[in-house]
Amino acid sequence: MEDVHYVQTAAAKASARKKFNWYFWGTLFILPEIILFFIFLWVPILKGIFYSFYNIDFVDGNHFTGLDNYISIFQGELLLTSIKNTLYYMLLGVVLGFWIPPLVAIAVTELKWFQGAARIIGYLPSAVPAIVLYGMWMWFFDAVGPINSFLQTIGLQPIEFFSPHMSMISIVILETWQSFGAATLIYIAAIVSIPRELYEAAEIDGASVWQRIRHITLPSIRTLMLLLLLLQLITTSQGFQAQLSMTDGGPNNATLTYLLWMNHTAFRDLNFGKASAMGSLMFFVLILLSIVYNLLQRRSEKA
């Protein structure tokens, strides 16, 4: 009897020590990052939020203006316009651009020749300097440029790429072309880790190619797809670079995203306080949304 009891306490002690070990190592591993994030991200972020309550003046010093900056965001109609445009941009990004990387990744991993080079083909646009890409796309979208010339040769109407309706779509096409490579690489890394035995077994069981993709490949990358979808939504919600260089928010604010408006406020109107308020506002709203999402998830789990 006593032996069993002794073994049990020893086992309990061992598992307690193991747990403590886990906690210890866990904390140790994560500590450097916590410090780095604090110094290089959270301090500037908090300062940035802090600035949003001030009128920033680099010569005379800042003075406190309370919620003035925030109130001025809600005046005028640019807030609604920019939010609408940003949401539209995010939607287009998902509809036009989200499904390309997984498809290309699957295609690339099946290539028998030149697979090495093909893996990085999608990523090559990131090696091209921005100024070259800018000139290239201005030419592509030009009224007498290659795309329109091609359309005219096959008898179709030329497209006006920078009309109020098409501008955002043109920008999304541009963005997708330029950035699908990164996501493709990540998908390739995941797909490449899928054990071949699964495919063999499925093939032996008589599954067709499409069934294999549907039942093996896609489920394996499901969590990754969700993650990349989330990251894409976060990135596109903050998008402004292409809008800035191609159309500068035009025509008539059709491509003015929230971040582009913030950029204008900071660097054109030179109102850094208001710009900080805009960034902080976005931050608060997104945090709120994620809290609400979390609560809803918990409620549905309980139900």
Binding site: L28, L31, F58, G76, V144, A266
Partner: protein
């Protein structure tokens, strides 16, 4: 166990602290170390004031040129040594940062702008409002050549009777024509005192959308679109704003404004502008340099500079016209612009005064003429054309002005402006208050005009002017 964690933590903290301490020591001994180019002029000046020398040591960070402009940098070095010979207590550092409205904010925030730099007329009011340029009224008044300066250029940097910048040169906005395109289509050049209708006429004849060639290239993207359009507002006799009882009131929603908008609408309806309306400053000039447009609007020599020196269009194929008048015999009013030298207000008083001296030291001297000459020769050697500014800091009628004109006449790679141009044009300064915001709003209007078929011009103009009034002009406090 705990010890390990604590040691790890403190090692990291210590490293960070040491780095901070170590480098801050170097910043204090800024005068000597080369890495302290990031040190602020104020810091170095105050470090210098600590030394008990008879003549106070002053450090000026002067604006230099980018490495590809070797000739200009050589000239600058020579100028520095000449200045130092006269003022031995001044040390020079060089910074090749070029003014950019997007970067000036960050530069001021981080206190890393040079002691003196060049900026443009448009920036005048903004910089003064933000107190990012030093008040140099006293230095200006004490300067012997103050009376010799060309009055046309002073306005943008004189606010409430105080001077904030030293003019370098200036221009009135003009329209540059590509004679080759005219000749190719067999269209005669309009007369220099042309009208809006003359412009439309010429554009119609040269326009060739199938080939991607436009009659006229107005800028359509960004605030420069509003800047371009304002020329036509002015030519129609209109104005952007007026001061009424201490308030800023919009005036561009006048009849003149409407006429100018109608003109733009006509350009679009008859398809006389490039099909891609989204042309910013660089895009418009590039398109012109490519020969995709017969006429482009910008500061006097700039389109020619790009077209000739970048694009390889011969200087004889270009001619600069004033903004057309609305009716025959009317005024050819265009927006006035120019380059100005300003001083960083974060530098201390003595440094500011010395910087003013540095800026104006070779104004009205033969050294200035010599360096201009060297630049022309350098360009000739590189097979490039020298494009002088039409308005300069001196008065053309003065002796100095005559010497300059003689110098230019000696060389064949100097772009010449038609004398009729100089007599016809009428320079009007930009709006004093919130010009940039007005330009940005007008850009939206212009884009609407360029992209919407049946746009109600009057209503759009009214809506925009109301918006600008309530959201921008009403917030201006006039001191």
């Amino acid at each position: 166990m705990k010890g390990k964690k604590a040691t790890a933590f403190s090692t990291i903290a210590l490293t960070v602290l040491l780095t901070a301490c170590g480098t801050s020591n170097t910043t204090n001994n800024s005068a000597a170390s080369p890495s302290a180019a990031s040190a602020t002029p104020a810091a170095s000046a105050s470090a210098a004031t600590a030394t008990p020398a008879p003549a106070k040591k002053i450090t000026i960070t002067a604006e230099s040129f980018k490495p590809d402009q070797k000739e200009k940098n050589d000239q600058l070095d020579q100028r520095i040594s000449r200045f130092k010979a006269k003022n031995p207590n001044v040390e020079f550092k060089k910074d090749d940062w070029q003014y950019s409205p997007l970067e000036i904010g960050v530069k001021m925030a981080s206190n890393s702008a040079p002691t003196e730099y060049t900026t443009y007329a448009t920036e005048g009011k903004v910089l003064v409002d933000k107190k990012w340029v030093a008040d140099i009224t006293d230095s200006m008044n004490a300067w012997s050549h103050a009376q010799d300066m060309n009055d046309l250029l002073s306005k943008p940097f004189v606010v409430n009777g105080k001077t904030y910048g030293v003019p370098i040169d200036g221009y009135v906005m003009t329209i540059t024509l590509n004679k080759k395109l005219f000749a190719q289509k067999g269209v005669p050049l309009p007369p220099m005192d042309w009208t809006w209708d003359d412009l439309l006429d010429a554009a119609r004849k040269i326009n060739d959308p199938a080939k991607g060639i436009a009659g006229f290239i107005p800028m359509g993207k960004g605030p420069e679109a509003g800047w371009n359009w304002t020329n036509f507002l002015y030519a129609a006799g209109g104005d952007v704003q007026k001061i009424d009882n201490g308030k800023v009131v919009v005036t561009f929603n006048s009849d003149a404004g409407l006429k100018a908008l109608e003109f733009y609408k006509k350009l679009k309806d008859e398809n006389l502008i490039p099909q891609n309306w989204a042309l910013g400053y660089g895009d418009a000039l590039s398109a012109f340099a490519q020969g995709r447009g017969a006429m482009v609007m910008c500061g006097s020599g700039n389109a020619a500079d790009t077209a000739i020196n970048e694009g390889g269009i011969s200087k004889d194929d270009l001619v600069v016209y004033p903004i057309p008048s609305m009716t025959k015999g009317g005024k050819h009013t265009g927006v006035l612009g120019g380059n100005y030298r300003v001083i960083n207000p974060k530098a201390d008083k003595e440094t500011q005064q010395m910087a003013f001296k540095w800026i104006t030291d070779e104004y009205f001297t033969d050294e200035f003429l010599t360096s201009t000459q060297k630049e022309i020769e350098d360009r000739k050697g590189k097979n490039r054309v020298y494009i002088p500014q039409p308005i300069n800091y001196w008065k053309d009628s003065s002796d100095f002005g005559k010497k300059y004109a003689d110098l230019l006449a000696k060389y064949d790679n100097v772009f010449k402006y038609d004398p009729q141009l100089l007599s016809l044009w009428d320079g009007k300064p930009e709006a004093q208050y919130e010009a940039q915001k007005y330009y940005a709003e007008m850009a939206n209007v212009i884009q609407k005009v360029f992209t919407t078929k049946n746009v109600d011009l009057k209503k759009t103009l009214e809506d925009t002017s109301n918006k600008v009034q309530s959201e921008v002009f009403d917030k201006v406090k006039i001191e």
